[in-house]
């Protein structure tokens, strides 16, 4: 289980990093693309 716990922590950090990087680099472009949220 310890491995899974570390994996969970890594996943949280990875998702946070991806979201942060995405908002830094692609957030504005996203607003111009026209993406539906449903």
């Amino acid at each position: 289980m310890a491995v899974v716990r570390w994996l969970a922590i890594v996943t949280v950090l990875g998702l946070t990093a991806l979201a942060w990087w995405g908002w830094q680099h692609g957030g504005l472009a996203l607003l111009q693309l026209g993406v539906g949220m449903c």
Partner: protein
């Protein structure tokens, strides 16, 4: 913190993480429409058909994967669902014909989503936490899924820009593959005491639920939720442009929906632990009618559109913890994933109708007015359907309880 409580927290964390990844990746599929269609010279209908098929398969498979989760455990179901989802993404990255796209993005990912999203995950949460905390716990997990939808979109867009659409899909496939080991987090929860006295065969559980007026009303009400969110999600940007607003307004409004959805979903789950969930659902649908009515009848400006996005965001997926929580209260948690899956099937049928009817009516009348009016009427109908549901467990659950430590 005792062991049972620690297990519950662990399962809630795992559920939130899996939902955030599963729904977050799924939410970015629209970003692949343009690059894939352009690269292969397809019309938009090829990609749109694959995604429509995905939604339909997701809904149709949900009662089955829910039943598997109830019988063999959420962990195993999520593990298999994660494999389907990841393999589907890898094959989607290699798809070069409409058929291979439909089989990967439509069939495999549709099945994968049914194994890794709301009904299975909320079923595991419902079984892992005590009844008095169930609604709030479902609200937290569903809010995490909502946050994943909001946060992952720009990351997906960044990956497409950086790696190209095919490699971006492979990267997302790797991310989704993490669900496979993370599924282990859903194991080991102590089932609530009531499960020991509620052993039912699958046909018995189905018969009991389908013969219960509250269950039928709940499912019909959830149809309306699916209808509205997909109609608004798909057609709102075009509607705003039709009304003379800039194209960017549509995406800003939908981003506001996504952001405030996180707040609304958590708050609804929390309120569901304090007040009657069917009454809250009725109020929520009534508020949707008021918000959509105001948006439709009041002269449209950029600011009324933003206000609509915030208000609809607060009411968006807040139906999810309340609906699943009501199913748990009525029938217990032994078959929660399957029964939640049946209700979700109605949501997906509503989704299909909302997306399709919006386009059909627009093509014939040149406006969305009729669909907005239908949305308002459906909201009022859903409020009327949910109001009379009595949040009272079925008689079978009202017998003396015994304890059980059977694993989830």
């Amino acid at each position: 913190m005792n062991s049972a409580w620690r297990n519950s927290v662990w399962i809630l964390l795992g559920s939130s993480l899996i939902l955030a990844v599963s729904l977050g990746v799924r939410h970015g599929f629209g970003l692949f429409l343009s690059p894939m269609s352009t690269d292969f010279g397809w019309g938009r209908e090829v990609f749109a058909f694959a995604i429509a098929l995905q939604n339909l398969i997701w809904g149709l498979a949900q009662p089955v994967t829910g039943a598997l989760a109830d019988r063999f455990g959420a962990a195993r179901t999520v593990l298999v669902g994660g494999i389907f989802y990841a393999v589907g993404l890898v094959l989607m990255a290699m798809a070069d014909t409409p058929t291979s796209l439909s089989l990967s993005a439509g069939l495999l990912i549709g099945i994968g989503l049914s194994g890794t999203s709301f009904s299975v995950i909320l079923g595991a949460v419902g079984q892992a936490v005590p009844e008095e905390k169930r609604s709030m716990a479902m609200g937290i997990a569903a809010a995490a899924g909502s946050f994943g939808q909001f946060a992952m979109l720009p990351g997906t867009l960044g990956l497409i820009g950086w790696l190209g659409w095919s490699s971006a899909l492979l990267a997302l496939g790797l991310l989704v593959a993490l669900i496979v080991p993370l599924a282990a987090m859903l194991r080991g929860g102590a089932r609530p005491a009531e499960t020991a006295i509620t052993q039912q065969s699958l046909p018995e559980a189905l018969r009991e639920a389908l013969g219960h007026s509250g269950f039928r009303l709940l499912a019909l009400g959830f149809f309306v939720c699916g209808f509205q969110v997909v109609f608004i999600g798909v057609h709102l940007p075009a509607y705003l442009v039709d009304q003379g607003l800039p194209a960017v307004a549509g995406t800003t409004v939908l981003a506001l929906v996504g952001l405030f959805n996180v707040v609304g979903t958590y708050t609804a789950g929390w309120l569901g632990g304090c007040y009657s969930k069917p009454k809250l659902l009725a109020t929520l649908y009534l508020l949707r009618a008021v918000v959509i009515g105001a948006f439709f009848f009041v002269p449209l400006t950029l600011w009324t559109a933003y206000g609509f996005g915030i208000a609809m965001g607060l009411l968006w997926l807040s139906t999810v913890p309340l609906t699943n929580g009501t199913v748990a209260t009525l029938f217990g948690v032994r078959n929660l994933s399957m029964l939640g899956g049946i209700v979700f099937l109605f949501h997906q049928l509503g989704s299909f109708c909302g997306g399709w009817l919006g386009g059909w009516v627009y093509d014939r009348t040149g406006s969305y007015d009729l669909v907005w009016q239908i949305s308002i009427a459906l909201s009022l109908m859903a409020a009327a359907l949910n109001w009379p549901i009595r949040e009272q467990p079925v008689a079978r659950l009202c017998t003396p309880l015994r304890t059980s430590t059977e694993g989830v």
